[in-house]
């Protein structure tokens, strides 16, 4: 599949020992070649410095190593939780630069803009900026706005927000051999060949629409003038029960779709308040907006994975794909369950053929191809390289 001059490799390990896991996955991805960049997507449970050191040993001293902590790993031989998935690429015609920016007090926007500066000096005919970011505080969309303020519409953006532990207090970003937290890593990737991007989710609206009659930030108080929690409970046949009964486990998440010109902007609703009867989402929900409860059956979610991969391959203008990076929503993983995850991997393999891929389950996906907006939820974003 690969020309002698350009290559893409992927590896995956579920070894408990972090150094061993890093070495196994990297060895399989690098395969003794000299990579330009190595992407490492590893569970936060790993001893990340030890894991990165092992990756470095395989990648060689000159390779750029970047990555993020995950909510699960995507790999050709199956998905995992608690493992590591590695992609490596190199050869003629690829240009790679990276930059890390601390979020801190400067904020997501400033960090997004700084990370985008990685693109400086990349003059390849095709390029993309891959963002691996912390999205725990503030408005994660500001990372995309910041990057967009520097690059504009000329460069597409893809990537994902890193996953953290169950306490959701910290996520990690990697660059070089250093593990950062509260940071944005920008990876500018230039290529002589076309780059394809796929974005699909598989969710659909449940009629009738509702109006968000009262909201503040990500908290919705009322839908159609009725306490929002009561509406959600009732529409899930749980009227009279508690919020905990509705939001029990990630597989029970609720999705709201806001109307957009090209489909829905999906928001994950992950919690409810039994006292003020409000519900809480991960990002801002504007008051007055028309929204739908979104529903996805198992098959539709799997179809979403197929659609995303196909769209990415279609973007290659007929060129043979080298490999694919994938950013999948952690909540999709929850909804699909352990068997469904493997089914999703099977769907991706069948759509991609023998093309290797690596990626991770994120806390929010990034894909800006058209327009200026670029954050997604419950979506699979794929990036195909030729």
């Amino acid at each position: 599949m690969q020309t002698p001059h350009r290559w893409f490799g992927a590896g995956h390990s579920i070894a408990a020992d972090s150094a061993k896991a890093g070495a196994e996955a990297a060895a399989s991805a690098v395969g003794g070649r000299t990579p330009a960049v190595v992407f490492v997507f590893a569970s936060h449970q790993h001893d990340l410095p030890a894991l990165l050191m092992a990756v470095r040993d395989e990648a060689g001293p000159n390779a750029l190593v970047v990555g993020a902590s995950t909510l699960g790993e995507l790999a050709y031989d199956g998905a995992s939780a608690g493992g590591v998935s590695v992609a490596a690429l190199g050869g003629e015609g690829f240009t790679v630069r990276a930059k890390v920016a601390h979020i801190g007090d400067a904020g997501h926007r400033r960090a997004g803009a700084e990370a985008a500066e990685a693109m400086a000096g990349v003059t390849s005919p095709h390029s993309v900026l891959i963002l691996l970011a912390d999205g725990l505080s503030g408005d994660p969309h500001e990372v995309v706005r910041g990057a967009y303020s520097v690059l504009g519409a000329v460069v597409p953006l893809v990537g994902g927000f890193a996953g953290g532990g169950s306490d959701k207090s910290r996520t990690f970003q990697f660059i070089g051999d250093t593990v950062y937290t509260d940071a944005v890593v920008g990876v500018a990737l230039g290529s002589d060949a076309p780059i394809g991007i796929g974005v699909a989710h598989g969710w659909h609206r449940v009629e009738p629409p509702m109006i968000i009659t009262s909201s503040r930030g990500g908290r919705i108080f009322e839908l159609d003038d009725e306490p929002a929690l009561d509406v959600l409970l009732r529409r899930n046949d749980l009227a009279g029960q508690r919020a905990a009964d509705l939001f029990h486990g990630v597989d029970a998440l609720q999705a709201l779709g806001l109307s957009r010109r090209n489909g829905e902007d999906i928001r994950v609703i992950h919690d409810g308040d039994d006292v003020d009867r409000s519900i809480l989402g991960m990002s801002d929900v504007p008051q007055g907006a028309l929204c739908w409860l979104m529903e996805a059956d198992h098959d539709a979610l799997i179809r979403g994975a197929t659609d995303s991969c196909r769209e990415a391959l279609d973007g290659l203008g007929g060129k043979v794909p080298l490999g694919v990076l994938a950013f999948d929503c952690g909540a999709r993983r929850g909804r699909l369950g352990p068997d469904g995850m493997q089914e999703e991997m099977a769907a991706m393999r069948s759509a991609l053929g023998s093309t290797p891929y690596a990626g991770f389950y994120t806390a929010g996906e990034i894909a800006r191809v058209r327009g200026a907006l670029g954050t997604h939820h419950l979506t699979l974003v794929t990036l195909a390289l030729a």
Partner: protein, 730 residues
Amino acid sequence: MSHSSSHQPTEFFSVVNAAADEETAVAAAVERAAEMVEAEVAAVVLADQVRGAWGFGTEVPSAGLLRADKRLGVPALGALHTCYTALGEDKKHGALMVGRLSAEFSPEERHMLQGMAQVLGLALRGIRVLSDERNLRADSERVAQVAQTKQMLVETLLRIQRTISNRRPLPEILDAVTSGAAALLGADSVALMLAEEGRARRLTVASTAGTPEASTHDGDAREAMAGGQVVIRALARDAVIAAPVQVTGEMTGSLVARLPGPVERHAEHREQLAAFAQQVSVALTDARTAEAAHEAHHDPVTGLPNRGLFLKIFNRVLASRDVATDPTSVLFVDLDRFKAVNDSLGHEAGDQLLAAVAGRIRGCVRASDTTARLGGDEFAVLLHDSPMDAATGVAERIVQAVKDPFRLAGRDIFIGASVGVAISRETAEHSDVLLNNADVAMYRAKKEGPGKVIVYEPYMHTEALNYLSLRGDLQKALDAGEFALQYQPLIRLATGEVTGVEALIRWHSPGRGLVSPVDFIPIAEESGLIVEIGQWVLETAAAQVATWRRTFPDLTLNVNVSGLQLVNPRFADDVMRALALAGLPSSAVTLELTESVLMSEPDLARSSLAALRTLGVQLSIDDFGTGYSSLAYLRELPVDELKIDRAFIARAELTAEDLALVRTIVQLGQILGLRVVAEGIENAAQLEALRSLSCACGQGYHLCRPADAADLPPFLERASLRHPNASLMA
């Protein structure tokens, strides 16, 4: 279509107006504008300079932007579709530009951008005035005053935006605009005038604030609409400003303010009034969007809420009420004979009828009650705070209202309604359960006859379950061989001889015992099983009568046919196949149909019957006199026999009126050349009376009870010996 337009400007408005300087306001505006219309790029052109270019990357095509290119070439991106919107009355005040790769901007999007540009223009002017005052080192009081005016304007407009975003009722929003404008401008009066539909486009006042005026400044309003811009006119002691209002490019009205003092004092108010007019535009556009959303939840034929919306409203009511004090009732209304009208007059007339019925039902309930069309000819009514008596009262009114004739396609149409009532007794009750209860009660009402109102009782549910289980058993009965036939002779009254037999179905259910046809035939008809069962009856009876005819060669067969069989396109073929298999000539068979069957499917019935008639099969009208008894169809349809319903003969001693009626039917038969059969002859007096009226044939217990096939030949033997009063089991 996009439903997203109205909430977005609020966010835009807040962000742009929160900006303390021009640069921040422009930056916020371009960014939000691009995101709202999913554009890649945006910029503001101010005093021949490109400001706040967003999304272009490193190379901003300034020349193209200044030229306002319709297709803007952007390096590495390609040619973009653009939309430029003036920040003030014309583009010399500057313009907001957005550019998109994928598609041109729709009229709705352009309209939304117009609103955003207007807001940005006002914000920029406010910022500029304030900074000018500061630069002139004007006294702090003046600076404070300017800042306060700007703040007031922003707050007023923001308040209006919120009423729009929160989708408050339109009149409330329009009142907020007129009163907000009146307060801010210090106007004597502000009026919103909107053009009516139609060619004259008459202007009517939709909302006013301040002192009501004798004159409404029609001319100023029209001038602003015609020119599409703000007009200002000096009066003797004051001034009039009119700002046009448009909805997606079409001029729809004007916001007119009358301000005290000379014109010169009001120069800055032009822009402010235009900003208020813009808010009206946004509100009206949003109302149209909401109307489109409305269509998804309403039945287009009647304009009533559909089933989904009805249940939603019902749930809301159930969740919010106090059970003890607010009993909620639901009525399930089903129309009688609607299908016949729809089939005979066409769907368009059917739709008109449904719309008219909807109107009558609504006329029977309070404005606060909810009427919905559930589908087909089913309606539901939700009655708030209605105990049982009140609910049944409403139901009776609905039955009465629907009973009155409807005038359709130049004729009077008579239909009816059956109503089931269910009352909520517990908080935990679900809307769909209550609606289902009302449905069960309606079914019962239908069973008890047209035009009935029945209140749901829990036992009906058991009954409904019984019905379902009966249907289940019935489905198996045919295969299990649980059906049997009995035969009742038709006797020539003058001679006592048997002319034929009528086949009657019996169901011996292992679990239920003997089930009456009255109980299972309607179910067989509803479930469509009647077609199979009917065919079995025909085949079995034909074979039996063919056997008997070896001994009694003139014996004929009467078989009942359901409407569902008749409209089955294969019916004529099935009949002929059954007769051929049995070896029974078609001339020996009479199919019995009820009047209602003929009336509900007149066209289909006619063509099916005509085909059978051509093949030699005879036709009989069963239960004649109970339904329409229309002479027209007796003439038009290929009928051979009339059966006088037992109801006319049921009395032990027939009255003069009964006799008169029966005589009329007999004479009618004679005139039309039809055989007349009297059903239900149960005693000698009845037999004698019918004989005296020259009724040709009769059936009944007095003559011969229905008998099993094995028991009948002895009677046939005796009757063929012409005993006038031959009776097997009397």
